[in-house]
Every structure is written in structure tokens, then in C-alpha cells.
């Protein structure tokens, strides 16, 4: 019984790590630009497919494929940003539709280029098991990317708090006009946040490729998950994203273990609603989410 719970917690933790790496990029852009990039999930998926192409065609190890995928995803992100910055009025809702349209284009593009088959890494190291104390089991891929993801997120957190650029992003998030008055160039800062988001998305995409399976319609699923976790965490909070993601991961695996696996999704959604009702601006979001 204890073993069952421990494994559930462990699996939930690792799952949360995956969710967090996918969500942080979205959260960053949301905070910096007040823009919800509904194509974020597709960017993650794109990275995964580049890793697949690299491995299946040239036998490149997925980790080595990260720089290649990064170039592609960063370029795609740049295009998304260029289009977004041309919106003048009603930014929030128009950017939603624009990125949604871009998401459709990308999903169908991926479907056209790579067809609908499922793919995952064939590299055996990633699939080998890691056993701790004969009770906790995981795939190497999951643990490796969890640790890597944590490191990456720690890096982003440090950058946000201790570098000038990072603090500029945070300044923009809290008060755009004041930030501009203090000398923050909004355009540069926004592009930077998009690029950091691209880095995170690339990492998440390769992580998913090695640990799970990818297929074209996954993009939409990822976006929704990322969005939910972002809102759950509260605006502008990176550590909130990690904690929220792990909460969801753990609740899901506990539900699978003790109730029924078919209620997994339900549990996550209920948790999301409960948190929102108790704390309307998310876990760490300050008081700005209540209706004016």
C-alpha cells in the first residue's frame, strides 16, 4: 500500500515536471506581453518532430537534436511575434484568435509533412528503467528531463530576478507604462521573452519525444494543459507554475491509483476549479484577477 502511494507520488512529481516545462514558456509570454500564445503547444510539438526527424533520418541523439530544434522553433516564434506585434486594438482577444489560427496552420503543416503516425524515441537509454530502493520506478528519460527541466527553470528564475533583461520582463509585466518610463524597451524585452519561451518549448518538446509519444493532434492538448497550469499558478509566477504543475501531476496519479484511471482528467480539472474559487488570481498571482 505504501509502495503504491510512493510510486504514485513519484510518478506525479515527474509528470508535473513535464507539464511545468511545457507551461513555463506560455506563462512567460503571458506575463510579458499579456498575450496568450495558443500556438505554444504546437511549437513544443514542432521541436518534438524535429527531434524525430533528426533521429530517424540521421540517427542523431535527441539531446544533440536540441540545438537544431531550437533554431527551428526560435524562427517560428519570431514569426509569431512579428505577426502579433502588428495587432493594434483589442490585444487580448485578437492575439488569441491570431495565435489560434497559427496553431491550426502548424498542426496541419505537421500532419502534412509527417503524417498521423505516432512516434517516440528508439534510443534505448531513454527507455531503460531507473529504480530507487526497489520501490520507485521511472524511465531514464523522465528523470533526466525532470532534472534538466528543473535546472532550466531555475536558470530562467535566476535570470528573471537577477539580470537586467529579466527584471525588465518582470517590470513590463507589472506595469507597462512605468517600465517604459524607466527605460525598458518593450519590443526588445518582448522578443527576448519569446525567445526564452522558445528555448523552454524546445526542451519540453524533446522531453516529450523521449518520454512519451507524439502525434499531430497533441499540440492542442499541450496548449490547453499549459494554459490551465499558467492560470492555476497565477500571473507572472514561475515557481507557481512548477508547484501548480506538480500538484496536478500528483492529483492525477493518486486518482489513477486509488480511484479509477478513467477519472484522471476529471481530477485535474476539479483541482483547477477548486483552486480558482478559493484563490481567484491563482496560487501566487496577487489580487488582480477579480472582476473590476
Amino acid at each position: 500500500m505504501i509502495e503504491l502511494t510512493l510510486q504514485a507520488l513519484f510518478s506525479g512529481l515527474l509528470a508535473g515536471g513535464y507539464y511545468a516545462t511545457v507551461a513555463v514558456g506560455l506563462a512567460l509570454v503571458f506575463g510579458a506581453m499579456r498575450v496568450i500564445n495558443l500556438a505554444h503547444g504546437e511549437l513544443v510539438l514542432l521541436a518534438a518532430y524535429i527531434a524525430y526527424a533528426a533521429e530517424s533520418r540521421y540517427g542523431i541523439n535527441p539531446v544533440m537534436a536540441i540545438p537544431i530544434a531550437l533554431v527551428v522553433v526560435a524562427s517560428a516564434s519570431a514569426i509569431v511575434y512579428a505577426l502579433l506585434s502588428r495587432i493594434e486594438q483589442d490585444r487580448e482577444i485578437n492575439s488569441l484568435i491570431l495565435t489560434f489560427g497559427i496553431g491550426i496552420i502548424m498542426t496541419n503543416g505537421i500532419l502534412t509533412i509527417w503524417a498521423a503516425d505516432i512516434h517516440s524515441t528508439t534510443n534505448p537509454w531513454f527507455q531503460d528503467s531507473l529504480v530507487i530502493a526497489d520501490t520507485l520506478f521511472a524511465m531514464n528519460a523522465e528523470v533526466a528531463f525532470f532534472v534538466g527541466g528543473l535546472a532550466l527553470m531555475a536558470g530562467v528564475y535566476w535570470w528573471l530576478n537577477h539580470s537586467w533583461q529579466g527584471r525588465a520582463v518582470r517590470a513590463l509585466t507589472s506595469n507597462r507604462n512605468a517600465a517604459m518610463l524607466m527605460g525598458v524597451n518593450p519590443r526588445q524585452t518582448e522578443i527576448l521573452s519569446f525567445m526564452i519561451a522558445a528555448l523552454l518549448a524546445t526542451f519540453a518538446g524533446v522531453a516529450i519525444y523521449t518520454g512519451k509519444t507524439v502525434f499531430p493532434s497533441l499540440g492542442h492538448v499541450l496548449t490547453v494543459k499549459a494554459f490551465i497550469i499558467t492560470v492555476l499558478a497565477g500571473m507572472g509566477s514561475i515557481h507557481g507554475v512548477l508547484i501548480g504543475a506538480i500538484m496536478i501531476g500528483v492529483i492525477e496519479s493518486l486518482t489513477v491509483t486509488y480511484l479509477s484511471a478513467s477519472l484522471q482528467e476529471l481530477a485535474g480539472m476539479l483541482l483547477f476549479l477548486v483552486v480558482l474559487f478559493v484563490s481567484p488570481s491563482g496560487l501566487f498571482g496577487g489580487r488582480r484577477a477579480l472582476a473590476r
Binding site: 486594438q89 489560427g101 491550426i104 490551465i228 478513467s262 480558482l276 481567484p280
Partner: protein
């Protein structure tokens, strides 16, 4: 002059279209599908404009309305037209469950509704004795034949959904112009001030949510009886959320008829023009169209079309 145009439009819609397309069930079916999307788009725009709330989960109301109506007519023998209204009522009741979400702002509210949609979908999948579970419901009763008119057929269905949309647009417009509409507009601008002068903002918002849910529920119920088939993935599919939003934006969501025009344009263009040309890539074209519309004319299609004929100044500026 305006009445004449209105009369002609009504004539064309109720008589002209069936005459022209009644013989090709394929095209008629497409028009009905486009109008179904239009109905939801209208309800979504209503919520956004009058209630000030953007929702990402209208599929929740669509699905609840569909299942309520289907189950009532199949298990309790309720006549189909009555079941339609009860379906809408069921969706409105479901919106009551969403009351706690009303105090959330912007994207928080939008996502909360999305979570509800997922939850309802899972409930529909698991409550097998009532909803037929994952297999869904087959052979849902179709519309009966009344006054010699066969409402179960394609043209009959068209007439029904057309009437639903007209009635909904009428109600939408009526609320907009009424005292309540004024109050809602004021609320839009600053809720605190309106609260101070005694406008029951939360009640109004709840009422708008219920109205939007009711309309969406009726449209969902219509679809269930028209297609005669229902299952959780289909009833709560994100298509019922996403396409109406795209249609509303495309057509111009600040106007009453924009969403309807947008739905017809997007759906019919996609299925009749793009799909035959690009059997594999036509959804992509939809994406390109959406992007182009947002970048070039964010107000949507309708304002562009109406711009030439605009005589009054600011009357159409706000919802």
C-alpha cells in the same frame, strides 16, 4: 426602406434558400451545419458583449443541451420540440453551477468554463445508464411532421434552426437596447461605479450567462435531433467552442449579425470551396484566413461590408 429590406431578406431566407438548395441534401446539410455554428457564435458574442465575459467552453452548454433534450425525448417520451426548450433550460441550469466563476476575470473565467466543459464531458462518458456512456445515443427521435410540413428532413431542419437564430438575434437586440442593456454597457466600463448606484452587477452577469447558455443549449438540442446521434466526444467537442469564436471574430463580434455572417462564410467557404481544391490542406487555409482577418480587419467582415453604407455615426460603435 429598412422594413422592405428586412422583408426581402426574410423571404429569401425562408423561401428562396429552400427553393434553391432543397433539392441537394448535401448543400442543405452544410447550410444547416453552418447555421448551427452561427447559433453558438451568436450566443458567445452575446456573453462577450453584454456580459463582458469571454468563454472558452461553450461546448459545455452545447453538450448539456444536446444530452438533456436527447435523453428526455428518448427515455421519457417528451415531444421533440418541447425537449428542445428543455435542453436549453438544462444548459441554463448548468450555468448556475458556474456561478462561482463569475467573480473571475478575463482569461481566468474563460478557462474555468473550459474546465467545466471537460468535466461535463467526462460525466457524460461515465454516466452510462443515462447517457449511453462512451457509445452515446443512436437513433435519437427526429423532428415530427406538423401541419403537413416534414420537419425531420433537411429543409425542415433548416427552417427550425433559422427560426432559432432569428429569435435569438431578436432577444439579443432587445436586451441590448433595453434599460438592462444600458446597465450592462455601463458595467463593462466600470463595475464599481455601477455597483455604487445600485446596479445588481452579479445578477445581471449571471442572467447573461444563463441566456447565452440557454441559446447554446437549444442549438445543441437541435443538432442532436437533426443528426439523430450523440456521443460525449462529439457533443462536447472543442469544435463547438472554437469554430463559433472564429466565426464571431471573423464576422465581427461586436454586431448582432456579424457572428452569423462569419459562421456562414467560414463554414461554407471551407467545405464548399477549399475542401474540394485541397482535400488534405483545407483546414490550413482556414488558419490562414483567420490570421489574415485579424491582421487586416480586426473588426471582422461585417464592418468592412457595412462601412460603405454607414450613414449614422457612432450608433454602431459599441455593442
Amino acid at each position: 426602406m429598412k422594413h422592405a429590406i428586412l422583408g426581402a431578406a426574410l423571404l429569401a431566407a425562408y423561401v428562396g434558400v429552400p427553393l434553391l438548395f432543397g433539392g441537394t441534401p448535401y448543400v442543405m446539410g452544410l447550410i444547416v451545419a453552418a447555421l448551427t455554428i452561427a447559433g453558438v457564435a451568436l450566443a458567445w458574442a452575446l456573453l462577450g458583449n453584454l456580459g463582458g465575459m469571454v468563454s472558452f467552453g461553450h461546448a459545455a452548454f452545447f453538450g448539456v443541451g444536446s444530452y438533456t433534450s436527447a435523453v428526455l425525448s428518448m427515455k421519457l417520451g417528451v415531444p421533440v420540440f418541447a425537449a428542445l426548450l428543455l435542453g436549453g433550460l438544462g444548459a441554463a441550469v448548468a450555468s448556475v453551477a458556474m456561478l462561482p466563476a463569475l467573480r473571475l476575470r478575463g482569461p481566468y473565467f474563460a478557462l474555468a468554463i473550459l474546465a467545466y466543459a471537460h468535466i461535463f464531458q467526462i460525466l457524460a462518458t461515465e454516466m452510462t445508464p443515462i447517457t449511453g456512456g462512451a457509445g452515446g445515443l443512436l437513433s435519437i427521435p427526429r423532428f415530427p411532421t406538423l401541419f403537413g410540413l416534414e420537419f425531420g428532413g433537411k429543409t425542415g431542419g433548416y427552417v427550425i434552426i433559422l427560426t432559432i437564430i432569428l429569435l435569438s438575434a431578436f432577444v439579443y437586440d432587445a436586451v441590448r437596447r433595453s434599460a438592462w442593456g444600458l446597465a450592462l454597457k455601463a458595467m463593462h466600463d466600470t463595475e464599481i461605479a455601477t455597483r455604487v448606484i445600485g446596479v445588481p452587477s452579479t445578477h445581471l452577469k449571471a442572467a447573461m450567462l444563463a441566456l447565452s447558455a440557454f441559446i447554446t443549449g437549444v442549438v445543441g438540442a437541435f443538432n442532436a435531433h437533426f443528426i439523430s446521434f450523440l456521443e460525449p466526444d462529439y457533443a462536447f467537442s472543442s469544435t463547438w467552442t472554437v469554430l463559433p469564436i472564429a466565426a464571431a471574430i471573423f464576422g465581427g463580434y461586436r454586431t448582432v449579425w456579424g457572428p452569423v455572417v462569419g459562421a456562414l462564410a467560414i463554414y461554407l467557404l471551407d467545405q464548399l470551396v477549399f475542401k474540394p481544391i485541397l482535400p488534405h490542406g483545407h483546414q490550413m487555409v482556414l488558419g490562414v484566413l483567420l490570421c489574415a482577418m485579424i491582421l487586416l480587419s480586426p473588426g471582422g467582415l461585417l464592418p468592412v461590408l457595412l462601412r460603405r453604407r454607414r450613414s449614422e455615426g457612432g450608433r454602431h460603435a459599441h455593442a
